[in-house]
């Protein structure tokens, strides 16, 4: 297998390098052209995506700095006597920061494999070669592959709080726990989204917190918890302000913010780095709003992913923004209007707040129960499409999302019936380019856009 050792070290290096892009970078200068020509294609595309637009560039600088710090903290955790915990994307990281542990979002780590020279494919394949069914989710499979290849150290603990929302998400944690002999904790997620369910989940969450105290060797300190929760509230407030800016037509928020936002919220909520990132993103977006800046040449369509997006190639963000006039408004993983504010009064209220955040995270909120429930996928999609004025909605068709595939048609029919918004169903894998490569995706998107009158300037 074409893998290289020390995956985390190389991630730290990549993000640190990406945090010093000068604000006045001139893409037309011979030096920059030479630099771009010297990069492998995937890295060149990634660089252009984060650096071509000056605002995106400055937002990405702060993001990359924070991510560099983050991966460094994972890398040095053992030396500092801190426990590393792998969590899924629907588990908010604050509680781990409060207990001086290091949370690693498995899907984020999986995605960051893209920054490695060898890319993600060898790890996706190795996980299958060693036993995992090929129908399991590529969003976690690369991490299993890295553990198999020995380029990634074992975490001290696995915590999964996504039961019932997605079978592959739960099963991969059980698989990692059993196969690599890692202690694993699960929090049950109830089928409903009501007061009784919140109480049930909160109880499970608090039980896990007790075990985390034992594993970390740290007693939960109320002041430290308040500090972390306060930073989380601040970051979420800023994220909401940015979402509000997205409601303007044209949308001033740069497309690539969405990608940075997703990674930040999954890994860094509860830290100053997250607040710094959102502050920069907000300041730049507000400035763009005041100056009337938007996607180029003009906002032709407001685009929404119905569920997950595409993560194996970031280039479409800048293609949308710099060439196509497509404003990437939202996807389900960054739906955030329902994130509860954490009540900072005491430990109990803060833990209840964190549990409520988890219950309202994407997938857990929308997919754990019946699709037609209030707070289910349909009602949230209708809400977000309407509120953020999406002109079209795309289902990427991520292969592993069987629970979503199973109700896609009902959802698309309802959107069409209630809002008249066109939808597109694709067959792509968010992390594996071999299912449908980016070139083909771009062709399919273009064909879809062509069918929408607004894309041609018609109402």
């Amino acid at each position: 297998m074409n893998s290289q050792p020390k995956a985390l070290e190389r991630m730290v290096e990549a993000f640190k390098l990406g945090s010093f892009i000068p604000e006045d970078l001139d893409f037309e200068s011979p030096d920059v052209k030479l630099l771009l020509d010297s990069l492998p294609e995937r890295r060149r595309e990634m660089f252009i995506t984060m650096a071509k637009d000056p605002d995106t560039r400055m937002i990405s600088n702060v993001f990359n700095q924070g991510m560099g710090n983050y991966w460094e903290s994972v890398l040095t955790a053992k030396d500092k006597g801190k426990k590393v915990v792998f969590i899924p994307f629907n588990f908010s990281p604050e509680i781990f920061y409060a207990l001086d542990m290091v949370p690693v979002g498995v899907e984020v780590l999986d995605t960051m494999t893209m920054t490695l020279e060898e890319g993600i494919s060898p790890y996706l394949d190795l996980s299958i070669e060693r036993g995992l069914p090929e129908t399991m989710c590529s969003a976690q499979r690369a991490v299993v592959g890295m553990l198999e290849a020995g380029v990634l150290g074992k975490p001290d603990l696995l915590v999964n709080g996504a039961l019932g929302g997605c079978d592959p998400n739960t099963k991969v944690f059980e698989y990692m726990g059993e196969k690599f002999d890692i202690p694993t904790l699960f929090i049950d997620v109830p089928y409903y989204h009501d007061k009784r369910s919140f109480k049930y989940y909160e109880q499970g969450f608090k039980e896990v917190v007790k075990i985390l105290e034992e594993v970390s060797g740290n007693k939960l300190d109320e002041d430290r918890l308040r500090e972390v929760c306060s930073l989380s509230n601040k970051a979420n407030e800023l994220a909401m302000e940015i979402s509000d800016l997205k409601r303007h037509v044209p949308n001033p928020v740069p497309n690539y913010y969405n990608m940075n936002h997703l990674a930040t919220k999954l890994t860094k909520l509860g830290t100053q780095d997250a607040v710094d990132f959102y502050q920069m993103a907000y300041d730049r977006s507000l400035d763009r709003f005041k100056k009337g800046k938007h996607v180029l040449p003009e906002e032709r369509l407001r685009f929404m992913f119905m569920y997950t997006g595409i993560y194996f190639d970031n280039s479409f963000h800048s293609w949308f923004q710099e060439e196509m006039g497509i404003s990437y408004i939202m996807d389900m993983l960054i739906f955030s209007d329902h994130v509860p504010y954490i009540d900072l009064r005491n430990t109990d209220t803060m833990l209840a707040g964190l549990a409520a955040i988890n219950m309202n995270l994407p997938m857990t909120r929308q997919l754990k129960g019946k699709n037609s429930f209030h707070g289910g996928w349909i009602s949230d999609l209708l809400y977000y499409i309407e509120k953020y004025k999406a002109d079209c909605v795309v289902f990427t068709g991520h292969t592993a999302c069987k629970q979503v595939w199973g109700v896609y048609r009902m959802v698309a029919d309802r959107i069409q019936k209630e809002l008249g918004t066109p939808t597109l169903r694709m067959e792509a894998d968010g992390w594996d380019s071999r299912t449908t490569p980016m070139e083909v995706l771009k062709e399919q998107w273009e064909e879809f856009f062509e069918t929408i009158p607004k894309y041609h300037g018609e109402n």
């Binding site: 036993g131 995992l132 069914p133 129908t135 399991m136 999964n160 039961l163 019932g164 997605c166 079978d167 592959p168 739960t170 099963k171 991969v172 944690f173 059980e174 698989y175 059993e178 196969k179 694993t184 699960f186 929090i187 049950d188 997620v189 109830p190 089928y191 409903y192 049930y200 109880q203 499970g204 129960g369 019946k370 699709n371 037609s372 292969t399 592993a400 999302c401 069987k402 629970q403 595939w405 199973g406 109700v407 896609y408 048609r409 009902m410």
Partner: protein, 375 residues
């Protein structure tokens, strides 16, 4: 026609004469799709629990336009049968949030006004075993009971429930005898016959089934044993109600002597405690019964169960099958394989499609090679 042949005929189509007879008495029939449903509650009030499958469905084109190619063929066949009104003889359907596929099958069925039955219900079962989880489960079962009591104007009482529990326990004891006999040196039942028996028990009144199985067992006891030198196998994995799959395997010189299937040992191994308050005892039995891979953190128990079946039936190896796209069993099977092979138990993993003789040729080739390997 002997009793097993008669039962076998009933397993090949969706409706059967026992159901027709039951309905002719003006009694209700309720479909269910998972072993986490405490059936005795229904049986206690003369509602016949009938386990829903997609048997006999060979084309799933209607269902495919609502579910998709990445949803398992079992769920698609069930939905196809529902959309084709093949379950119209049912008065209702109760599903469990067992997996992503089956809960979406239910939602699509429920959403189709032309196919939805008068009573459509999903029973949410926790995904973890804990005391809180048990309380949640018990409350949910109470809600379900209240819902069907109101809908069908019936009343579950401690008395009628106790009686139903006794009948169901008797079914499990009798089927357990079948498993005990199969574990012997010369099994009097083939694996296909055993699957017919378990499947039939889910499609007809349990009291009638118990009478028939008692007769079958009496006949077996008086029959001289035939020497059997076939390779002994255990089958574990996804939903399997298709005796032809087992026949296909057994036609290659093997005999299936036990299993760890939900249409098999996993559903009959645990009894309800008849000395406790019946509703609580029933809920505890269902919540804690041999766990499906949907129950997180219970892999060791599942592994022990498979190992126990292999040991007690003196099996030479195991077939770990799963329906394509079933991540629950697919992942569990991968772990089972690693662990069983560590103990030098030969194992073959088989990905399959649901349906009579689907993939039969490929299955034969792979099983044949496996049998040669373990020789």
């Amino acid at each position: 026609m002997n009793a097993i042949e008669e039962l076998s005929k009933n397993c090949k189509s969706l409706e059967n004469p026992y159901v027709t007879e039951w309905k002719s008495q003006g009694k209700k029939v309720m479909g269910y799709a998972c072993t986490y449903l405490p059936e005795e509650l229904l049986y206690a009030v003369d509602i016949l629990p009938y386990r829903i499958t997609g048997r006999g469905i060979t084309d799933s084109s209607k269902a495919d336009s609502y579910l998709s190619r990445v949803n398992c063929s079992f769920a698609r066949c069930c939905l196809e049968a529902a959309l084709d009104s093949k379950f119209d003889f049912l008065d209702g359907a109760i599903f469990v949030n067992g997996c992503d596929h089956i809960r979406r099958c239910f939602e699509n069925w429920e959403a189709h006004e032309t196919a939805a039955l008068p009573f459509m219900y999903i029973l949410p079962v926790p995904h973890r075993l804990s005391e809180n989880g048990y309380e949640w489960f018990k409350e949910e079962v109470s809600k379900l009971r209240a819902a069907f009591e109101m809908r069908f104007r019936v009343k579950v009482t401690p008395e009628n429930l106790k009686k139903a529990i006794a009948v169901y326990n008797e079914t499990r004891r009798l089927l357990r005898k079948v498993y005990d006999l199969r574990a012997g040196e010369n099994p009097p039942f083939t694996g296909a016959e055993a699957l017919i028996l378990v499947t039939a028990s889910t499609l007809m009144p349990k009291e009638t089934f118990n009478q028939l199985l008692n007769e079958i067992l009496k006949t077996i006891e008086t029959k001289p044993q035939e020497k059997n030198n076939k390779t002994r196998l255990v089958v574990a994995g996804s939903e399997l109600d298709d005796p032809e799959f087992i026949e296909n395997v057994e036609s290659l010189g093997a005999i299936v002597v036990s299993d760890a299937l939900c249409f098999g040992a996993r559903s009959i191994w645990n009894l309800t405690d008849e000395n406790q308050e019946p509703f609580d005892a029933l809920c505890r039995r269902y919540y804690n019964h041999e766990p499906c891979p949907r129950m997180a953190g219970e892999f060791k128990r599942r592994l022990d169960f498979v190992k126990d079946q292999i040991q007690r039936s003196h099996a030479d190896g195991a077939i770990l099958e799963y329906i394509k796209f079933c991540d629950q069993h697919g992942t569990d099977n991968a772990l089972l394989k690693i662990n069983l092979e560590k103990e030098n138990i030969p194992v073959i993993e088989l990905e399959r499609q649901y349906g009579p003789l689907a993939d039969a040729g490929r299955v034969r080739t792979r099983v044949q090679a496996f049998l040669e390997r373990i020789g």
